[in-house]
């Protein structure tokens, strides 16, 4: 009787351990799988984003503002020139479109997924891509643009070709230098 009770107890222990392993282990495996999947997806999305971004940038170099657009810019002071930077960045972002949104979605999702795991490699990759994407700081450029008087902004908004990727340097030099 005693032997049978001991056997039962040990069997229960083994079962508990097995149960514990079966409940915990899949979540550990899944967490890693999510990160592996996420990091691969991030690479794919970044590549797609970069290809489109490069296309849009190439397009911007070919799109020089018309003479009439430059004539409109000439009516504004040279200090407005910096705002062309914001309009250029915005036009590029709009041009990249879905590829940009999808990259950001995976980036933020993966970052959130990694909050509990704190995987160093994943963190480094996320930081690296964020640094590269945001190095041109659209926020700073927008601050410059937003600080312009309303009449200047209205005039800029009406400049033909300024909402598509355009050659900002060419526009600046033709209008103000």
């Amino acid at each position: 009787m005693e032997i049978s009770s001991l056997w039962l107890q040990s069997k229960m222990k083994i079962l508990s351990i097995l149960f514990f392993i079966l409940t915990i282990f899949p979540s550990v495996v899944l967490a890693d799988e999510f990160l592996d999947f996420g990091i691969d997806l991030l690479g794919d999305k970044f590549t797609a984003f970069e290809v489109k971004h490069n296309k849009c940038l190439t397009m911007s170099k070919k799109n020089q503002l018309s003479d009439s657009s430059i004539a409109t810019l000439k009516q504004l002071p040279v200090s407005v020139g910096e705002a062309l930077g914001y309009l250029h960045l915005k036009a590029i972002r709009m041009c990249v479109g879905d590829e940009y949104t999808e990259l950001l979605q995976v980036l933020l999702d993966l970052e959130n997924e990694n909050k509990t795991e704190q995987n160093t490699f994943v963190t480094q990759e996320i930081d690296k891509i964020k640094l590269l994407i945001f190095s041109t700081s659209e926020l700073r450029a927008q601050k410059q643009y937003d600080s312009l008087p309303v009449e200047y902004k209205n005039k800029l908004q009406l400049v033909e070709g300024i909402h598509q990727p355009f050659d900002m340097i060419n526009a600046f030099e033709r209008a103000w230098l």
Partner: protein, 136 residues
């Protein structure tokens, strides 16, 4: 635009916004695995390494290397002199960068060119970074 020969810029003084832009470029360069940004000490990239050639600091390592010659008459300003070799090494480093990093650096430089208040030397400097130039 045809790539022009890289200019020699003597006594280039960078304002706060230019230095911020340089820091951003430096951050991009740091993401590279090549480590070139570290090994090219003494060349133009040094500016992008966050080290300066201060006219006041006579024992400055860079000043000793004579790669940069500080010729500023105003000793309170940090100034640089940039020669053909500096550009050559800088663009060698560029070629090792990913296309995206290159494009971002080009955009940062381009946005500096849009500033109305920069000096003509700063404008020449940023123009050379933006368009690239032929090192002799």
């Amino acid at each position: 635009m045809d790539r022009k020969v890289c200019p020699t810029i003597v006594d280039l003084q960078l304002d706060t916004k230019s230095i911020e832009a340089i820091n951003s470029i430096n951050d991009i360069l740091k993401t590279k695995d090549t480590g070139l940004w570290v090994t090219l000490i003494g060349q133009l990239l040094l500016i992008f390494g966050g080290l300066g050639v201060n006219a006041k600091a006579s024992n400055n390592v860079i000043e000793k290397s004579l790669v940069f010659k500080s010729v500023s008459s105003d000793s309170s300003q940090t100034s640089y002199s940039i020669f053909s070799t500096n550009w050559e090494y800088f663009f060698k480093t560029f070629s090792s960068l990913d296309r995206f990093a290159n494009n971002q650096i080009e955009t940062i430089a381009g946005m500096q060119m849009l500033r109305s208040e920069i000096s003509s030397k700063e404008r020449v400097f940023w123009k050379s970074v933006h368009y690239g130039c032929k090192a002799k």
